[in-house]
């Protein structure tokens, strides 16, 4: 087993992510309008909100790929500036939304997971047997050992997602970001992936941020939920406080009765 970054007693509540008044804009659209958020070490944070609320943008400023117009982001005590993006990103694992992968891409599952270690290895260094051991270990953790030598393009959506999570783990990150990890997966795969994410979060003492539309599964996993709307943090609190029918009705601009009916449907599904 790989050692997770050690969390010493007394440092558990250390601030891992500190976002102060972040403003991000893509051309004319403002994606984040002065968002401030602190995330402590070991927290599991759910981010919920309608499409276009700025959820993905919030994740991209944590891994430094999103460009701030103003405000400040501090990750693990370091400010992002144009020069240290690559070094901070090595400590932040990012699982993007499900991507279309060329079915004929000449790379195996194992090689794709190894890409997660490339940043850590640095320039001009090749993966050693120790790195391949880590890759095989994380593949086992996500249940993909049997498919390790398959071409990456031949996997199903759920399998691709497991590979993306394995790639992220191979990176041995301290912060784990997932953008709709269960989107476009079937019901069984959805619950499996969220359980896997929770398991990994707990066993490796990670700080985890998950953007999801999967409200039924959130309360099981999250310590805290952030509700986003129109580029603002619109509310936050425990899953019980935030994921009420009334709050969701306001967040999604839907009558409470409709929210209740839909939630009942998805629970049954």
């Amino acid at each position: 087993m790989i050692r997770a970054p050690a969390v010493k007693d007394g440092t558990v509540s250390k601030t891992m992510i500190n976002i102060e008044n972040a403003v991000v804009s893509y051309r004319e659209d403002v994606a984040l309008r002065g968002v401030s958020l602190k995330v402590r070490a070991g927290e599991f944070l759910g981010i919920v909100g309608p499409n276009g609320a700025g959820k993905t943008t919030l994740l991209t400023i944590v891994n430094g790929l999103g460009k701030l117009l103003s405000g400040q982001v501090t990750i693990l005590g370091e400010h992002f500036d144009p020069n240290n993006g690559h070094s901070i990103r090595k400590k932040v694992g990012y699982v993007a939304q499900v991507q279309n992968i060329d079915p004929r891409m000449p790379m195996s599952v194992r090689e794709v997971v190894m890409v997660g270690r490339y940043g850590l290895l640095g320039l001009l260094r090749r993966p050693a047997s120790h790195d391949w051991e880590i890759v095989d270990e994380v593949l086992e953790m996500v249940g993909m050992t049997e498919l390790a030598r398959r071409p990456i393009g031949h996997l199903s959506g759920g399998e691709q997602q497991r590979v993306a999570i394995a790639r992220c783990l191979a990176q041995e990150p301290q912060i784990f970001l997932l953008d709709e990890p269960t989107a476009s997966l079937d019901w069984r795969a959805k619950t499996d992936i969220l359980e896997l994410v929770k398991l990994i979060h707990d066993s490796r003492n990670l700080t985890t941020l998950v953007v999801t539309h999967d409200l039924s599964a959130l309360p099981l996993a999250c310590d805290r939920v952030v509700l986003m709307k129109e580029g603002h943090i619109w509310g936050e609190g425990s899953p019980e406080e935030t994921l009420t029918d009334d709050k969701l009705s306001e967040l999604y601009d839907m009558p409470t009765a409709a929210v209740r009916a839909r939630r009942a449907e998805t629970t049954l599904a």
Partner: protein, 282 residues
Amino acid sequence: MDLTIFGYQFMQNAVLSVLLGGIACGTVGVFVVLMHMPFIGVTMSHAAFAGAMLGLLAGFDPLLGAFGACFIAAAIIGPLADRGELGPDTSVGIIFSLMLGLAFLFMGLMPGTKSGALEILWGSILTNTRSDVILLGVVAAVVVGLVTAFYKEFQATVFHRDMALAVGIPATVVFYGILFLTGATVTASLRPIGGLLVFSLILNPAAAAYQLTYSMKRMFFLSAGFGILSGLIGLLMSYLFNIPSGATIVITSSAIFGIATVISPKRKVKRWQHQPPLEVRQ
């Protein structure tokens, strides 16, 4: 078959050119195919051609003009493709037509015979000088050297640029590097292969290799091998039947692609998937 012709220096230069050109074109071709950017490559070769025409017109070395134009085109195409404000195909298409327009403008302004211009358009491997061969050798060595030294960075960027960035690889620099290497390869191949035809030698061997393997390393070797093979067979045909070498090289590379597509195991994906995974088979 009388092969004493290979004793002459012009023929040795020609053979060396197709060897080195095959390696350089085959290697950058892998990027062009895997990153789905054949149009960007075509545009680079037209930029090189326009630059060479400017050189001929203004009286400086056409290859210098070609290098300059390639670098400028890469510097414009990179950000245009990245920002996606117009959609990469539209913006690259505009640059492509502009380059073609400039090339014809410079050609039209040229006084007297246009044989120098036509030579660069169609290529003429048999009039290569030693310095052409040396330039191609330097470019091939730089391309292969960089790909070998930074293989993992290239591999990650080709697989997925955003993902490569997210794990801490300078993927943007790598992407621009790929564009510049493509430009340099096009420029160095301009005289032997020709501005119009060089792109087939970049695309076809890599596309053929792409049909045959699921290993990126093997794809690089196969692609360079097919590039060399296209060049040697094309050269031989050109000599035997007294036809233009650029044309025979490109037709040979297309034929190799055709054969690779027919025998490609990737067309039989379904059957392959029914096999148990490797571990079980062993």
